[in-house]
Amino acid sequence: MSRAQDGDRGAYQTLLIEVMALVRRFARRRLRQADWQDEVVQETLLSIHRDRHTYDPQRPFLPWMYAIARHRLLEFAEKQRRRCRNEIAGDDVLEEVVSEAMIAESGARVGFVRQALALLSLKQREIIQLLKFEGLSVAEISRRTGLSQSSVKVTAHRGYKSLRRLILEAGL
């Protein structure tokens, strides 16, 4: 890193390749999804580049690097949490459409929603059925399936989106 601070491009590239492997391992232990891990790795690489002037060659490199990785990971988690909250807030209207279709007097509609549900992924179908047909809360589903509450919400949100698309395509 000291050589990179002086402008040695070769040393910097070698260092970043090693950093990438270390940060990927660090992210893999904390995040399940591969694209999330990639995002944290990339953010960390960019932060290391931006903040490379703050590295003190008198100090060990790894604590400096992991501190940056940890902050990027926390920032990412916070961003995901906010994103999830906003998506869920936007889901209210969508959820209403699905619920209305389910409780509609027309048996054809109920039948269609059930058919559309069958087209969703197994996880999405299971969660929407638990939420809408069995009336369980997000917390209860989280306990039953072993998924986190935010994961349940995100899966339901994606399921609603697909359902809406199918309902609109069918002209219901």
Binding site: Q5, M20, Q42, E43, L45, L46, D56, W64, A67, H71
Partner: protein, 220 residues
């Protein structure tokens, strides 16, 4: 963009950088600057007439030592440590300036039995606020610029410690200027002012020290 491409891009455009000085060195540098500013300001504004007597008062000395060591020194250290990745100190170390604030408040309250009090005393407090603000202005600006040049990861905390440090030193100068020893005055206009300045620092820190999203800065 894949991580490998990012690495290639970053290595290709690498430029030499000027290294940041060590945390302790920067703390000392700023501490020296802040002390000089406050000393000059206090000298220009003129010390309280009874200062020669006051410096023999143990309570006054304790208060000054608390302000100087526990609040000014430890807050400055915390602000500079928080601004460099990997140099952050334990949460316990962050509590030291808070402990100093608490002790200061206790000292003022404990001293309230021995001092005369007057209703008019608390009205004159604005002068102390202006003095503190004037004395703290240059050190506060300097510390914010210095921590901004680093990479603060907790902008709120960094801002809090930066302003707490600058304002506690400025308040030490104000204590040399202000001849009002009424405990209510000290509690509201001296202690309260430093506390409020620290809280303002949290917002200022979040505003000034929050870094732009890294992709927006690097990949244009």
């Amino acid at each position: 963009m894949s991580s490998d491409k990012i690495i290639q891009y970053l290595a290709r455009d690498l430029q030499p950088v000027r290294r940041l000085r060590g945390v302790e060195q920067r703390t000392l540098l700023w501490g020296g600057f802040a002390l000089s500013c406050v000393s000059i300001g206090t000298y220009v504004l003129g010390a309280r007439p009874d200062l020669s007597q006051k410096i023999r008062d143990p309570a006054y000395l304790c208060e000054s030592a608390l302000l100087l060591v526990l609040i000014f020194v430890f807050s400055a250290r915390s602000a500079f440590h928080l601004s460099v990745p990997g140099a952050e100190r334990s949460k316990g170390a962050r509590m030291l300036p808070l402990l100093g604030l608490l002790l200061w408040a206790c000292l003022i309250t404990a001293h309230s039995g021995h001092s005369p009090s007057g209703a008019a005393d608390s009205i004159n407090g604005w002068a102390c606020i202006w003095r503190m603000t004037g004395l703290a202005l240059a050190p506060a600006l300097a510390v914010l610029l210095m921590v901004r040049r680093a990479a603060p990861s907790s902008p709120g905390w960094t801002g809090w410690f930066a302003l707490l440090s600058a304002c506690s030193l400025a308040m030490l100068g104000t204590q040399i200027l202000c001849a009002n020893d009424d405990p209510r005055h000290l509690l509201i206009w001296h202690f309260g002012a430093v506390l409020v300045a620290g809280l303002v620092g949290i917002y200022l820190g979040r505003w000034l020290l929050t870094r732009a999203h890294v992709r927006r800065v690097i990949i244009r």
